[in-house]
């Protein structure tokens, strides 16, 4: 029942049964966060290190709370306060952490594949908390959990992902995850932000958000990085908002009771209007709540798998 591999590097490496196991375990862990004493002793004495080479509040805090609610000891290292600024390599940093007997390392890095390099070199379990434009598996799993919790199923649902698909690890992990679970994934964005050949991943491509949203059960908006504008991939924030932003008018095209999701942090008034972000269909904060339960499940199942291997 545990996860088969030592590490969680991406949705690509998970079987459907493992994804289902993570979701059902997270359902049990969700209750822990509703107690007065938000803690269970499952991972007492285990040491986990959060190694973040990119800024993050949500994901880092979520993993930290997840570890603490499992009674593990967790330490945060961010690149700005570590010896990385003195020129130490990623691998050397990680080996030094492991030399202090860590059991698990949670890593975020701007370079795609960085967690895979660490996983190969280390005995500790490695969890990918986002690597470049590659994957962000815990985000996709918490999105899946939220959809399942709200709509009861995922199979057969029409799910639209709108935004900068090309640079988004959230989009990649979600496409892989939702496809494995049998959903119909639609993607949409400016042509410059849609990778060529993306259809090979088993998605339908739309260039007008109205078409992508039409009859959708779930709409996932991606954060548009304003930096991309400088590289000429879209003309301007206001124009993007007008053509691709999610407003009430566009939400009405979706199925009744549609879920509006966003991995955060949101740019209010850019990819999503405040009325939609704060509106009745928005589950953006549920995603954050569920993130802790899903990450507890991931950490627990990896720790459990280590013992049975």
């Amino acid at each position: 029942m545990a996860l088969k591999k030592k590490d969680l590097l991406g949705i690509d490496y998970l079987e459907r049964a493992e994804i289902e196991e993570i979701i059902s375990t997270a359902e049990s862990f969700k209750e822990v966060s509703t107690r007065d004493i938000k803690k269970v002793p499952a991972l007492r004495g285990r040491t986990i290190v959060n190694l973040f080479f990119e800024p993050s509040t949500r994901t880092r805090t979520s993993f930290e709370l997840a570890a603490k609610r499992l009674s593990a000891d967790i330490i945060n290292i961010s690149s700005s306060t570590s010896s990385v600024v003195k020129g130490e390599t990623l691998l050397d940093t990680a080996r030094n952490i492991e030399a202090m007997s860590s059991d698990m390392i949670i890593v975020r890095h701007s370079m795609s594949g960085a967690p895979i390099i660490l996983a190969r070199a280390l005995k500790s379990s490695v969890i990918n908390a986002g690597d470049g434009a590659h994957e962000h598996p815990s985000q996709a799993l918490l999105d899946l959990f939220t959809i399942k919790e709200r709509l009861g199923k995922v199979e057969g649902l029409n799910i639209a992902i709108i935004g900068d698909i090309a640079h988004s690890r959230v989009a990649r992990s979600n496409i892989l995850c939702l496809n494995k679970m049998g959903a119909n994934v639609r993607i949409c964005g400016p042509a410059t932000l849609i990778p060529a050949d993306i259809e090979k991943m088993g998605v339908k491509v739309y260039f007008r958000p109205e078409d992508a949203i039409d009859g959708a059960d779930v709409v996932m908006m991606l954060r548009i990085q304003v930096e991309r504008q400088k590289s000429g991939l879209f003309p301007g924030v206001r124009e993007y908002s007008r053509f691709f932003g999610l407003n009430l008018e566009r939400v009405r095209l979706a199925k009744e009771g549609v879920l509006i999701m966003h991995p955060g942090p949101i740019n209010r008034g850019v990819e999503i209007s405040p009325e939609v972000a704060d509106g009745p269909y928005s589950v953006i904060l549920d995603q954050v709540t569920n993130g802790v339960a899903v990450r507890m499940a991931i950490i627990y199942l990896l720790a459990e798998g280590r013992g049975t291997a």
Binding site: A2, T25, S28, F29, D36, V40, L43, L70
Partner: protein, 181 residues
């Protein structure tokens, strides 16, 4: 694994649960401040039946909670878990209550230890008591049941299988013998 003996049948289980319901009421002088907490999965079914029996006797509904003790076990690194993790549902306030923990089999006592730890995280019960359908011996911790359906001394080579209507379609308790070699 082959069946060695059937130690309880449906009538036996029913009678034991009626007797335990009476014993719980007698010892606690009624239902005031009383709640049941079943240990997943068998204990939850038994706790619901005990609550139903108590309702028939006293006309009072005693709250029933469910504990999944997977998160409280002391053997995460060494045990192969066969059942998926279930939900813990304690919807009543535990503080100041007398909680009767309910499980199907009392064996090493480690499950009960974990269940007590889990319960304490919800508050400070006035007292915790233990009801089990079967006490098979071999305890490894100083834990004894307050209410026992049946005492059945077993050997370590044997396994106890409790089948319940709610899950297996029939009520019976079997002693299984592990095949040689």
């Amino acid at each position: 694994m082959k069946i060695k003996a059937k130690v309880m049948d449906k009538d036996g289980i029913d009678r034991a649960l009626i007797r335990i319901a009476h014993e719980i009421l007698e010892r606690n002088r009624g239902t005031v401040g009383l709640a049941l907490a079943g240990i997943r999965t068998g204990g939850v079914h038994l706790a619901r039946r005990l609550s139903e029996n108590i309702r028939k006797i006293e006309g009072v509904d005693v709250p029933v909670g469910a504990l999944d003790i997977t998160m409280y076990r002391d053997d995460i690194a060494s045990r192969k878990r066969k059942t998926p993790m279930g939900k813990t549902e304690i919807t009543f306030s535990v503080t100041g209550m007398t909680i009767v923990l309910v499980d199907d089999v009392l064996f090493t006592g480690r499950t009960i230890r974990a269940a007590m730890d889990s319960l304490m995280d919800f508050g400070r019960p006035r007292a915790i008591q233990l009801a089990v359908l079967l006490d098979r011996g071999h305890k490894e911790l100083p834990i004894t049941a307050d209410y026992v359906g049946k005492n059945v001394p077993t050997s370590n080579k044997e396994a106890v299988k409790v089948r319940l209507l709610e899950e297996d379609g029939k009520d019976e308790v079997l002693i299984m013998e592990k095949a040689e070699g």
